[in-house]
Amino acid sequence: MESLPPEQVQVIELAYFGGFTHTEIADRLGAPGGPIKGRMRLGLQKLRASLEGALAT
């Protein structure tokens, strides 16, 4: 998680551990919902890539 940009970590944490939807997160952060979904997707893609890297070593 520490390798991710903070804005991606934040939305993933809020969704996963906080239980909020992307629209609720957008409301709270004062941002439009679409980019929130994009950040979640990008963040998870990066996490997966680093997981793969960790498993390959």
Partner: protein, 215 residues
């Protein structure tokens, strides 16, 4: 905003109900999204590992509370969170499975699957166990939520062993539905049991099994 962008939010259970239904309908016809969902799920399932390593829960909680402090209203619907107790072993196993491509077509292939119905289950619930060579999946429909502050835990009753063996398969149903991978060797397992336990699970059952599936 393309519907394909929803994969991450879907895996994090962060789509509002109407959007979730829409996306699930889309998934049926979009192989690329199905593949991506499988891939991202591996990352999501490993999240508790990342948190344990890099951000102790109290710090995380403080940060979350600070972020969401203002309105006291909780999210409007009952949500089952992806389990935080999800063990690193399971995460790693899932990751490995996905990496060698097992996860993807699994649900689609009907080969070599033995489906067993529960002999004991809560009234109205439909619970079955799909057994494959290498892993099994407990599938529940119309299963009531566990009591407040409890989670369901899966146990293996092995032949000749009185005490059920705990598994790290813990879950809470969402909209009555749950699909839980049961790992471990089921060779000498007589029954797969489910109880409700405190979050994190127990080493020995604290209540009588609510679900029993005789293998």
């Amino acid at each position: 905003m393309s519907v394909h962008e929803s994969t991450g939010a879907y895996v994090l259970d962060a789509l509002p109900p109407d959007e979730r239904r829409e996306f699930e309908a889309h998934l049926e016809g979009c192989e690329a999204c199905r593949r991506e969902v499988e891939q991202l799920r591996v990352a999501a399932d490993a999240l508790p590992v990342g948190v344990t390593q890099y951000a102790p829960p109290p710090a995380l909680k403080e940060r979350l509370m600070a972020q969401v402090a203002a309105p006291a209203a909780p999210p409007a619907r009952a949500r089952s969170r992806r389990p935080q107790w999800f063990g690193w072993r399971s995460a790693l196993a899932l990751a490995c499975a996905a990496l060698i491509g097992i996860g993807i077509g699994r649900a689609l292939s009907g080969d070599d699957v033995q489906r067993l119905q529960a002999s004991v289950a809560p009234a109205g619930a439909r619970v079955s166990l799909e057994m494959r060579d290498d892993e099994s999946t407990l599938i529940a429909r119309d299963l009531p939520a566990p009591p407040q502050g409890r989670v369901y835990q899966v146990w293996l009753k092995r032949r000749g062993v009185a005490a059920p063996e705990p598994t790290d398969a813990l879950f809470t149903p969402r909209d009555g539905r749950a699909e839980v991978d049961v790992t471990g060797d089921l060779g000498d397992v007589e029954a797969v049991l489910v109880t409700h336990e405190p979050p994190g699970g127990s080493r020995a059952p604290t209540v009588a099994p609510l679900i029993s599936i005789t293998t």
